[in-house]
Assembly symmetry: C2
Homo-oligomer: 688 residues x 2
């Protein structure tokens, strides 16, 4: 059951798609303290109580023990003490206390969640204004609560099937030849590859919706050349529009008044990649439509997917602050720079980027009303991506377009996925990647993944190998890195054949991953689940922060420590362990419930099949279209009877509700296999 | 066996204390490539080969899979991708390949250790000049190799016994009252406390060897007042000497020419806490003696211990570079700050601090010869602390003085310990703390520990609690934090009684910890050992990166994950597990060899007693002097006969070699206990 409470006069974020009546009185469970300035929700945590949720964030699956802040931030250092990443996902589920419930604070300004930080047993949520819609959910289980919430916020975005392939990116592919070289590096070694991402350098001086003519002299032709090799190109789109006379997007935006303005009516100038930019006012419906339509210029050149970046929005500097900073620095010039004055100096420079005070310096035009940015800050990335998503419904009504964003708010999950931003080539970010997945699924973000190998810092071969073994299961499987770091395309390392074999497993798993993704999206379910969400009676399950359930059949337990030759694994029930080296090269072993130390060499990946569940495995391929899903192996750990509901479609259209999309495999204890469905299948049974 | 090889004309670092004959030819094991510019040592690693050592560094106990750089750095972000911390400890042991050996590169300039970073199976060590002494060691075991190396480099520093108590520090205790409040906070709640550290604010405008008269109007009296409460005050000493007319240390240094100079003969000006400073030329023997004698002014006021800081040396900016920077920033003022120009701007500011190019701008006077700093950079902290250590031999010949440093090089271990620098309030730094301890012991640094609770960033109560449970065993046990972070003195949290009980265990363990420390120092042994160093036939032991052996009797396995209620533990042999809540409040259980999941609630600490070994446990106390070591419990896990060699002395004098310092306890299977030694003991046997 979902109950809606309204405080004050909330901004309509369009996060939810169901209209609920407002319940009188205060939200239950919490002590609510409302002042003219803010709204506070206090709650006493039991010792054994778990707090799940908060979407994209640092730390564990159980969020207890830290203070988090919803304030979308361009934060490239995802270290433990950060309080904000790129997103604001104000949804929590409390479990293991007096009552189990979920709560969503639909408020687009800054919120702090003190989850046992100040006091171990105190949860305190503070909204920086007294205006919000608050939804409280109860249900039979966490999964039931999540499902209700997901239905409230609407169906998750569905990408084309090719977007489940292995993808390669790097900030630093400067031109056609750079891209050709990377494609060749994979294709020559038969390492599967689906797409190449184009970071900011493909544009003409970082201007959105332009293509640099020197670097890509005939872009539509190049797109075709890549497609002939089964490679999709995915260009980046930035939030800021370059201030430049003669640049059509800039000039149109100025003419129509579609950029964010300062209080005095002048356009707000921020500094990002191109230098001076204006922000398109994506909270203004007309501006949003205008900006969304701009994507057509690239669709027309054969592009089928995009990633939206810098849309927190990221501000390297506000021009007004920068001007002041130059003056203040000049004043320090002849002083003895001791602790105080030197801190002034570094403080001036350090506070330029993404200064929250600058959020108070510009406004949105929302249905004719000027809205100060800080009050709706967390909606920017959401609405930039919504601009694109709404446009694609008009511009490409039949065919899915790949779209994911860096910044997000609940509601955006209907228009695109996210990647988890600028992580680092750190082993602990491999683990963070795992821990972030379920909380993202809770808020409807299913198409997601972290940059394999890490974006910032230098990767090592073993880190990339281990990371691929985790990212193997994330819908978005992309190797991405930053300019200036060590190149980490897998063919550059020593063990190319091992990389080829491991990445090919992704294509072996593609039928399963796609099927599970689609069912999760269509049924408002989670694709990645913590053990405790499923094994609700298992007292130890909530202690497991380094294993996940993937879809209905599998549990994963990746190795995330350098030089480790294995790891500890907890099995809440008996399972079949697969130790994969390649799609047709694996060991099997049945392990009883309980704690185990399990070996897994650097080139080996562990997968656990649950009892009476089935893993559908193909022979793989070099790209999604090459995968033959009609000749498959069905790996089953049968205790009584194993079943699998298999979703399939053409991977690009939108006929999701067609019953023909569903097939069913049943395998009995002796190995007898029955497939019912509309397709011709050749299924080879492998009993585990 | 140790063999010495010499390349070129090495700088004499005084790292070693034994004179060895130089062997002709190249070092064995390595392919040596010598050019006019550098010296390179290449080695092919076997798949199963482990690389141990490198002292203070990031990452694991086994250093494989990263590139490390010996270049002492003021680096407050100890994240995985850093290559240098504050120290340079160029000692490695290779184990598990064709042959086991140790190697020490006695070279004080910059060295890179590519330990399987570029290629997983390649070790490549590059010295930035072709001049070095290289020592190669073989032996019966890793411990034997380490022992030979430790004998080569001389006996480790020995602090007074009180320095093994629980110590409290924070950058931000501004005056007498701040310190009194912290002492009261502990004493009122009976939380043990041994000392308070005085960070930079006790000085008069950050001038070394001064005391701010407003904040500490009668410092000798205040020192006495603290001593009456059994509290030792430990002031910080910084490397840079403030440039200020009338300041005696500055004026004397100028007069005698004891500061580092530029090529043109002018004094080099760096900016640190006081603003402009000069660096005392601690590589100049006379200057070193002069600077060391300055500590007397504080000894005379009753001080018995110091910590030397900023001695990499840390340079916030070189004044010459700062002057240029102001001009270059001014030039950027009216430009459109796009990617290139904005990166220029941030690059100018970002490259001010600790810029290695500045190391080429100043010189040391070494026996009359001008030595460019970058060629001897890694010796600065060592020689600053040596200045103090050599002075203490003169100024306090009978009584030990506490001394530890931030920066170090091998050789410095004879004059002081180190703390592991400006860590963060991160759970992964708790684990890093554990992993760093053995490699520090390998190079003779025994008096060491990390800042409990983390220096930078905000700590949580559970992090501090878990960290104390690890730091419980480190010789230096100090809670320290930075100005601006959440205060983390334990009495400020909710579970004060649990903190009191846990910290009191340290005093219960004090007899054991001190005894083990002294034996390690006097016998050139390791106090903290990885499991693989002791259980040499155990194939799994080298996989264990989160447990340590502490002294001769104990193994520890701290919990380092937030919200964890236990952890996995590997036992290479049967052991007795103690689950401590307080010094007289613990469970015991015998666990067989192998893998275990073991429960350990937030206020519980696991300790494992090895078979036929003994843990001597006292009742604790509020400070070291209060601990009664003559009435003890002997906890023994007897399989045949348990033995313990117990070192004791007065804890402040230097009569280390007195045979009366040694006692021996033996406990037979039935519990029969015999103590032989020069003291009166009442020993209560607890069979485990």
């Amino acid at each position: 059951m979902i109950t809606k409470y309204t405080y004050g006069n909330p901004f309509q974020t369009d996060a939810v798609v169901q209209k609920l009546e407002v319940q009188n009185g205060n939200v239950p469970y919490f002590t609510v303290v409302k002042t003219e300035e803010q709204l506070q929700f206090e709650y006493t945590l039991e010792n054994e109580e778990k707090v799940y949720g908060l979407g994209e964030n640092v730390r564990g699956i159980n969020k207890r023990g830290w203070i988090y802040k919803s304030c979308c931030a361009d934060e490239p250092n995802h270290v433990e003490d950060r309080t904000s990443l790129y997103a604001s996902h104000n949804f929590l589920v409390l479990d293991g206390g007096k009552e189990q419930f979920g709560v969503f604070f639909d408020y687009p300004g800054i919120i702090t969640f003190d989850v046992g930080y100040t006091h171990l047993n105190e949860l305190k949520i503070t909204l920086s204004e007294p205006d919000a819609d608050v939804y409280v959910m109860t249900g039979e289980s966490i999964l039931d609560i999540v499902k209700q919430f997901r239905q409230l916020i609407g169906r998750s975005y569905i990408p084309p099937k090719w977007a489940f392939g292995y993808q390669q990116s790097r900030w630093g592919y400067m031109n056609e030849d750079d891209i050709r070289e990377v494609v060749k590096g994979h294709r020559e070694k038969k390492i599967p590859l689906e797409s190449i991402y184009m970071d900011i350098d493909y544009m003409e001086r970082f201007k959105d919706f332009t293509v640099n003519q020197e670097r890509f002299p005939d872009f539509p032709e190049f797109v075709k050349e890549m497609k002939a090799q089964h490679i999709h190109l995915v260009p980046i789109i930035d939030a800021g529009v370059k201030v430049e006379e003669g640049y059509d997007v800039y000039e149109e935006g100025i003419e129509k008044g579609y950029f964010c303005k300062k209080e005095n009516g002048e356009y707000f100038v921020a500094g990002v990649w191109p230098g001076k930019v204006h922000f398109p006012d994506v909270l203004n419906k007309e501006a949003r439509e205008w900006f969304g339509n701009k994507y057509q210029v690239l669709l027309d050149q054969g592009i089928e997917g995009f990633w939206n970046d810098m849309n927190e929005p990221s501000i390297f500097f506000a021009q007004d602050r920068m001007d002041e900073t130059f003056d203040k620095i000049a004043e320090l010039k002849d002083k003895n720079l001791d602790l105080d004055t030197f801190q002034q100096f570094t403080g001036l420079v350090g506070s330029l980027a993404n200064n929250t005070d600058d959020f108070k310096k510009f406004y949105h035009n929302v249905d004719g009303k000027m809205m100060r940015h800080d009050k709706v800050h967390n909606l920017f990335g959401y609405n930039m991506t919504r601009a694109a998503g709404e446009a694609f419904e008009r511009l490409s009504p039949e065919k899915r377009i790949l779209m994911f964003s860096r910044s997000s708010y609940i509601g955006m999950h209907r228009y695109g996925g996210i990647w988890t931003g600028d992580n680092k080539s750190w082993w602990n970010h491999l683990l963070l990647n795992l821990r972030m997945m379920p909380s993202l699924n809770m808020v409807g973000i299913l198409y997601t993944g972290a940059d394999i190998g890490g974006f910032g810092a230098d990767a090592t071969e073993d880190l990339v190998m281990r990371w691929i073994q985790l990212a193997m299961f994330s819908p978005l499987m992309r190797n991405h890195s930053a300019m200036g770091t060590r190149k980490q395309e897998v063919y550059r390392f020593d063990h190319v054949e091992e990389f080829r074999k491991i990445i090919n497993i992704r294509y072996g798993l593609l039928a399963y991953i796609y099927s599970e993704y689609m069912k999760s999206a269509l049924n408002s379910e989670m694709y990645f689940k913590p053990l405790s969400f499923v094994y609700t009676d298992d007292e130890f399950a909530s202690q497991v922060e380094d294993q996940l359930l993937v879809g209905d059949s599998l549990m994963i337990a990746p190795v995330y420590n350098q030089n480790a030759k294995g790891r500890y694994v907890y099995l809440p029930e008996e399972m079949a362990m697969l130790r994969f080296r390649g799609v047709d090269d694996y060991d099997t072993e049945i392990l009883p419930a309980g704690h185990h130390y399990v070996e897994a060499g650097l080139f080996e990946m562990l997968v656990f099949v649950r009892p009476d569940k089935i893993l559908v495995l193909t022979d793989g391929g070099e790209y999604a279209d090459e995968v033959d899903c009609d000749h498959v192996k069905a790996l089953a750990f049968v205790k009584t009877k194993a079943e699998y509901v298999w979703y399939e479609d053409d991977g690009m259209g939108k006929d999701y509700e067609n019953p023909d999309n569903y097939g069913r495999i049943t395998i009995e204890k002796g190995g007898n296999c029955v497939y019912t469905g509309s397709r011709e299948k050749k299924i080879e049974v492998k009993l585990l």
